[in-house]
């Protein structure tokens, strides 16, 4: 691992191995290249980090399930769903922002910001994303909550696991699985609402009128939620997710991460012993509270390890015990590696802000902010109308009967307004040019609401004029929105007889 706490070697444990892989593995007869999953029954815990995690769970799941149901009036021609990925019409709506396919760089920019944000948080606070906000963590937490409500806490669950298949066990298991399944269906169901009008789709889903792809998406996401949240849990983090491997490269000596103050806790021992020989025993009473609450099934006292998602529940668990014993909290705590020598020497750790504000995090913040500002700027300067000009180059020019030279241009007009708009064409270039629109008597084109229109445009240079007889001549197409007066232009070229 990138950070190698001294204690790792002292304890002689195996940070790289599967959780609890050492159990039963030392027997040569049981030696195997494959390890079965050890069931983990994390005990319920109370504390400030648990409360924070519940709050994040409520907020994130609330946003996820409720978002598609928020309405947003965009006029009669456009969908009134606040957040909608309209794949059929190639539009992405987010409240007052509408993204067209050619503006996908906004999405790319947001993804870059998300990546940089992840770097920033990881270098400052370790795997804080994994521990608090990752969907795998949030839904697993929700599933664990259901599990505890139905089957009881850790000890009851352990008993139930070992018991025979009595009626009670069947009833509890069926209740739990049913509740899990309902959550899973709601989760998979909520996803598809982002891609269609939610109220209509809900009705269609129940009346079996929805598209097959909607049902298969719901089915797949229901299955993944049910399996990942109910049965695979920490296996997803350890074996399926690449992030645990990547994040090691983003942490350094100042990264605050969940750790055990072994210099304070060791040698660990039972409280009774501690009373008899206080000078020989550390603060850790080896109560295993930190191990029992861990959703990853690891022992934080073994030092930092790949499996740790820094959910901080062990901090809550240990603080609870330390408070009961009347000792200082923070035996397990958010710590930076650079504080270790200070603390071993008996000095207090530096403040969290000292660790958080450093060149690296400030740099990440600056780059993140740069992209954010650039996106906001791009959002404000983007025009509500737009054109692209594709000169027809087969043939490069057409000779007319009067000897004039004609060029054709396929011009795509984009109207991002929620109503149809008339666009007027103008041409700036050589005075000899005349402009004509295919199929139109004047220079106006009506473009539908939130739509594009392809218009072929002809530019003619009369016989003997400069542009007709020479090679290439520059010209500029202007398009004006007749309602708002907004103007946009695109430059292009006119090919005369001299073009080869």
């Amino acid at each position: 691992m990138f950070i190698n706490w001294a204690v790792v070697n002292e304890m002689g444990t195996q940070p790289h191995s599967a959780p609890r892989a050492h159990m039963g593995m030392s027997d040569p007869a049981n030696s195997s290249l494959y390890a079965a999953r050890e069931p983990i029954f994390p005990r319920d815990v109370k504390g400030k980090f648990r409360r924070l995690k519940w709050a994040i769970l409520v907020v994130t799941l609330g946003i996820y399930y409720a978002m598609p149901w928020i309405r947003w009036d965009r006029g009669p021609e456009l969908p009134n769903q606040a957040v909608l990925v309209d794949l059929a019409n190639r539009r992405f709506y987010w409240f007052w922002i509408e993204i067209w396919p050619h503006e996908f760089y906004f999405v790319a920019g947001l993804l870059i910001m998300a990546g940089l944000g992840l770097f920033l948080f990881t270098s400052a606070l370790g795997r804080v994303w994994c521990g608090y906000a990752c969907p795998q963590t949030v839904w697993t937490d929700l599933f664990l909550l259901v599990e505890r409500k139905v089957e009881g806490d850790r000890n009851n669950q352990l008993r139930l696991l070992k018991s025979k298949w009595t009626f009670k066990k069947v009833r509890l298991r069926m209740t739990k699985w049913t509740l899990w399944l309902l959550i899973s269906v709601a989760t998979g169901g909520a996803w598809v609402f982002y891609f269609a009008d939610a109220p209509t789709l809900l009705k269609d889903l129940f009346t079996l009128n929805a598209a097959p792809v909607a049902y298969s998406t719901v089915a797949i996401l229901t299955a993944t939620t049910f399996i990942f949240g109910g049965f695979m849990r920490e296996q997803v983090c350890i074996y399926m997710c690449p992030w645990p491997r990547i994040q090691g490269a983003m942490m350094d000596d100042d990264t605050l991460t969940v750790a055990y103050r072994d210099w304070r806790g060791e040698p660990r021992g039972k409280a009774r012993k501690h009373d008899a020989t206080p000078e020989l025993v550390g603060d850790c009473i080896d109560c295993n509270a930190c191990v029992n609450v861990c959703p990853m099934g690891i022992d934080i006292r073994d030092g930092q390890q790949m499996e740790c998602i820094t959910c901080a529940l062990c901090i809550d668990a240990c603080d609870e015990i330390m408070t009961k014993l009347g000792r200082d909290r923070g035996l397990v705590d958010y710590l930076a590696l650079s504080d270790e020598p200070r603390e071993r020497a008996g000095n207090p750790p530096r403040s969290a802000w000292y660790h958080i504000f450093r060149v690296r995090t400030l740099l990440y913040t600056a780059i993140w902010g740069f992209f954010g500002l650039a996106l906001v700027y791009a959002l404000f300067i983007r025009p509500a109308i737009d054109i692209t000009v594709a000169p027809v180059r087969n043939p490069q020019y057409v000779t007319l009967s009067d000897g004039g030279i004609r060029n054709a241009y396929d011009i795509r007009l984009r109207n991002k307004h929620g109503e149809a708009r008339a666009f007027e064409f103008q041409l700036v270039g050589d005075e000899a040019f005349t402009l004509r629109l295919e199929g139109e008597d004047d220079l106006n084109v009506l473009v539908g609401a939130d739509a594009t229109e392809l218009q072929r445009v002809y530019v003619v240079a009369p016989r003997g004029s400069g542009p007709a007889e020479t090679g290439r001549t520059d010209l500029r197409f202007w398009v004006q929105d007749m309602v708002s007066g907004e103007r946009v232009y695109k430059d292009s070229l006119f090919n005369g007889k001299g073009t080869e």
Binding site: S32, L33, Y34, R37, Y239, V398, T399, S401, R406, E438
Partner: protein
């Protein structure tokens, strides 16, 4: 290789596989067992897949698979589905009067789009992919039309073609080969006069004689002003467009030998809606009247 009994690495405490190469031992970091199951599951799936779908090559074919799937059948199905979807608008196009069909009518746009496909498949071989034509093959983008450039006239030309035996209604223009009628000098004079019509360099004295010859022999089709006549397929000789070239040698060759372009009667080969679609497409290329 060392013995296979379980050993532990002294540094990490991790169990080793017992494999030992020159003192380097291999640590045993066990894979999760479900990982192994997914491997087996993919193998089972793979076998099932090759049974269900066309897979195993045989001598001259391949196994067909139990599901009877074929990409060709899928494409045929797709085409059938799209045709069924378009049947209504397609029928409307087939029965439409093109000269009164509004540009805002969906059938118009359907025709233009479909016509582009028809054009590429059947017309572009002679008229070019961009419809710019070539020597002997008219440019369909310009404003000069041998047989008329209205929708009605284009549709007639596409339907019946030009100078073909298959369709009794085909356009049929007749220009004598003046090499058998005129003397060499007369041909030269006519050539000079034709050059003068489009304002090109010419011998004015010869052209004067050519004007008389033209009025007697050519004006009946090409018109007294040489503006041509679409009803008999006679091109204008006074404009800047020359199907077979407009310089002295080309014009002389045309007078001596005459030129006869041909075009198939597409009404015999294509459906009515395809003919109309091609007509709409050609008409909106820039020269339609």
């Amino acid at each position: 290789m060392a013995d296979h009994s379980s050993q532990h690495d002294p540094v990490t405490g991790t169990e080793t596989t017992g494999h030992d190469w020159d003192g380097i031992t291999e640590l045993n970091t066990p894979l999760p067992r479900w990982w192994l199951w997914t491997l087996y599951a993919t193998i089972v799936w793979g076998i099932g897949y090759t049974i269900a779908y066309p897979a195993w090559p045989l001598v001259s074919s391949a196994t067909q698979g139990l599901l009877g799937y074929s990409t060709r059948a899928e494409v045929a199905e797709d085409i059938e589905r799209v045709n069924a979807q378009n049947s209504e608008i397609s029928a409307r196009l087939a029965s439409a009067d093109l000269s009164t069909l509004s540009r805002d009518d969906p059938a118009y746009q359907f025709g233009v789009s479909g016509g582009a496909a028809v054009f590429r498949a059947h017309c572009s071989q002679c008229h070019g992919a961009g419809a710019a034509g070539a020597v002997g093959y008219p440019n369909l983008l310009d404003d000069a039309w041998l047989w008329g450039g209205t929708l009605e006239e284009i549709e007639y030309t596409v339907t019946h073609g030009i100078r073909n035996e298959q369709d009794a209604d085909a356009h049929w223009s007749e220009m004598p080969a003046f090499g058998e009628i005129f003397s060499g000098e007369e041909i030269g004079m006519t050539t000079e006069y034709v050059l003068s019509l489009s304002g090109q360099d010419h011998d004015a004295a010869m052209a004067e004689g050519g004007a008389v010859l033209f009025a007697e022999n050519c004006a009946s089709c090409h018109g007294e002003e040489a503006m041509g006549d679409p009803s008999v397929g006679a091109p204008s000789l006074a404009d800047a467009i020359w199907l077979y070239g407009g310089d002295r040698a080309d014009i002389e060759y045309s007078i001596i030998n005459a030129r006869f372009g041909v075009m198939p009667a597409w009404g015999l080969r294509l459906s009515e809606e395809d003919v109309k679609a091609a007509t709409l497409y050609v008409h909106q290329l820039g020269g339609g009247q």
